[in-house]
């Protein structure tokens, strides 16, 4: 499911999927501001049919964090 996560991240921040790594985050993706960060949450929730907790949402600093939280919701993500 990593591909899906990357695809969603790429779509929301309007960047190429090749530019995304697990270390991608607001630090290195310019369009990753707080608003787009929340849009990303919506897209992930709609896609995986889950609901993140408020702490999970505010805790995300990188794509790796997203994958970690997805696991809490029984979404299988490759390492």
């Amino acid at each position: 499911m990593t591909d899906s996560v990357y695809e969603i991240v790429a779509k929301v921040f309007a960047i190429s999927i090749n530019d995304i790594t697990d270390q991608s985050g607001p630090e290195n993706i310019e369009s990753w501001d707080s608003f787009n960060g929340l849009v990303l949450v919506d897209e992930l929730e709609n896609f995986f049919k889950i609901k993140f907790s408020i702490s999970e949402i505010t805790d995300v600093k990188t794509v790796a964090d997203i994958k970690r939280h997805l696991k809490n919701h029984d979404v299988i993500v490759d390492e």
């Binding site: 787009n36 929340l38 849009v39 897209e43 907790s53 949402i57």
Partner: protein, 582 residues
């Protein structure tokens, strides 16, 4: 399929809308965090060939922006302003603790808050020409008073209801103000879906991102009529659209209409169509059928809701559906972009979509119980005001059909005109006529010499100015009342008058009415001792029907003006009667 917010945002980044002819400036003034609405509106506008520029005020800055005449909002000079308020912010502390206060104090507080709001709204209308759309407030499902909330004296829910009521009253008083029923929006889509406590705590987001496109769609209901993008006519198929089955095969008694569950769905659909017809939406038929078979159902079937008199055009034949659409547009004289097309057949839908992309072709469901919900989702029929003429439009078109049939029975035009018994009532502008006069200047494209668009405020100013003569004409004939269908605005100078605006609704063109109205203006000028009357013709892509009017009347072109010398004889028109009302 509605796009998601993130799709709208990415589309908004690459909008190629600079070349679009229609332009709109939208201001968005939220009391809470409302990101993405602006981008979504711009994309939705571009889909309608409108270039939308937007201004979004800072978080909860509406008070300051409205109060300060030098604010960025006024500098932006919007055409339409959406003031989107939330009840928590509006009520403050009392939102959570309504019953900490006595009911008298709750009343007082509501009165104070609404008066404050009315004050800033008044300041806004003094400082801006923009239409103002204010959202009303959601009445939360919950109350700390539980099941006895409805017994409370001026309780929590009643407080908000009272605020909403005051908003309604404010908007009834002012033509440029509209209340957006946000409470209805929440009822329709559900408080639980729209309000997400996580987004609220993270950033005071009070409408969840998933519903921003839906909200934008609702707000487009105001934009469409403002820019003349609203639709006026529904073209309908018959078999499996207005009734179940095929009349040519199943017969008069075999079609499903009423009684059965499926038959009831068609009756319900017809009722909703009739209710739009009552509000001025034109209905027309485009059906492949034997004319007599179909008409027998329309005229005689006991469960038909829509009858012959409701249809402005009846194209029931075996011709190509696209050809029939052309017949309809020429019979009722409307543009393709005014039409919504309902046909259950996917091939017909495809045919019309390809031939006439300007038409809104509905993707109809196979299940007739979906017809009404589909119809109710269409937000293209809105108008910013509804005049008496609008509500009578359906009847007027049916009369027009009778007039045309009559025309076919008479051998020449003169006989036809003589037998129409046309009566033209010339009326001086007054406060009851101003909305209709403004409306005609805003939407008349064909017989319009100058195509100057005037809001009600403008018409009011002209009417109060003694250097202007503003009037309109009501036209009646043996088939009925055409309503107020002609408008003129004349600027009166010392020696000469200038015709600023002269227009006629297209449905009464070509009957000598335009000549009769201009005659009265000329007579009046002559009696006032004026030397000449000047007029302009400004060509547009649509006003060709008015092109030769001035020269045929006897005006001659001199420089940039068309001039009528008042020493000329005034034409006499025999076939109609003119009545001047003061």
């Amino acid at each position: 399929m509605e796009k998601t917010l993130s799709e709208y945002i990415s589309l908004s980044k690459n909008l190629d809308d600079l070349k679009l002819e229609k332009k709109l400036k939208v201001a968005i003034m939220p009391s809470f965090t409302l990101n993405g609405l602006d981008e979504t509106l711009r994309v939705k506008c571009s889909e309608l060939d409108i270039r939308c520029q937007s201004y979004v005020s800072g978080y909860n800055q509406y008070n300051q922006e409205f109060l300060n005449p030098e604010s960025n909002l006024y500098a932006f000079s919007p055409d339409i302003t959406f003031l989107l308020l939330d009840i928590r912010n509006f009520l403050g502390e009392i939102f959570h603790f309504p019953y900490k206060f006595a009911d008298k104090d709750r009343k007082l507080l509501v009165k104070e808050k609404t008066e404050q709001l009315e004050k800033i709204i008044n300041i806004f209308s003094e400082n801006s020409k923009s239409k103002l759309v204010i959202s009303n407030f959601n009445i939360p499902a919950y109350s700390p008073n539980g099941i006895i909330e409805t017994k409370s004296e001026f309780g929590f829910h009643e407080m908000i209801d009272e605020i909403n009521k005051s908003l309604r009253e404010m908007c009834k008083k002012k033509n440029s103000i509209y209340v957006y029923n946000f409470n209805n929006f929440i009822s329709k889509h559900g408080e639980k879906n729209i309000f997400d406590y996580r987004q609220f705590h993270i950033g005071d987001i009070q409408i969840t991102h998933n519903f921003i496109p839906t909200l934008a769609d609702d707000l487009m209901s105001y934009v469409k009529p403002l820019l003349g993008k609203n639709r006026k006519c529904i073209v309908l198929d018959l078999d499996n659209t207005l009734w179940g089955g095929i009349v040519g095969e199943d017969g008069f008694d075999g079609i499903e209409l009423g009684h059965t569950p499926k038959g009831k769905a068609f009756v319900e659909f017809q009722k909703e169509l009739l209710s739009l017809w009552n509000q001025g939406i034109i209905l027309a038929i485009n059906s492949k059928n034997n004319f007599d078979d179909a008409m027998k159902v329309i005229r005689e079937h006991p469960n038909m809701v829509l009858r012959e008199k409701h249809f402005a055009s009846l194209q029931i034949n075996w011709n190509d559906k696209a050809q029939n659409i052309k017949e309809i547009t020429s019979e009722i004289n409307i543009g393709l972009d005014s039409i919504v097309f309902f046909d259950d057949d996917k091939i017909n839908q495809e045919r019309i979509k390809q031939e006439f992309p300007q038409i809104l072709t509905i993707n109809m469901s196979d299940d007739p119980s979906n017809f009404v919900p589909i119809l109710k989702e269409i937000n293209d029929f809105n108008v910013l005001q509804r005049t008496v003429e609008d509500t009578q439009r359906g009847e007027m078109y049916a009369q027009q059909r009778e007039r045309k049939n009559f025309e076919k029975t008479v051998s020449n035009l003169d006989d036809f005109l003589k037998n129409l018994n046309i009566k033209v009532k010339m009326k001086k502008s007054n406060k009851f006529l101003i909305p209709r006069i403004s409306q005609l200047t805003l939407k008349t494209n064909q017989f319009n010499l100058t195509t100057k668009r005037y809001q009600e405020k403008d018409i009011q100013n002209f009417s109060e100015n003694e250097n202007f003569k503003v009037g309109c004409a009501q036209v009646l004939d043996k088939f009925g009342d055409n309503g107020i269908t002609g408008v003129y605005i004349v600027e009166k100078n010392k020696d000469f008058w200038v015709i600023d605006t002269f227009l006629l609704s297209c449905r009464i063109m070509g009957r000598g009415i335009e000549t009769a109205i201009l005659n009265e203006i000329i007579k009046d000028a002559k009696e006032s001792g004026i030397r000449e009357v000047r007029a302009n013709f400004f060509p547009t892509t649509k006003n060709k029907p008015a092109e030769n009017f001035l020269s045929e009347f006897g005006f001659t072109q001199q420089g940039s003006y068309w001039i009528y010398d008042l020493n000329n004889q005034i034409k006499i028109i025999n076939h109609l009667e003119v009545e001047i009302e003061e």
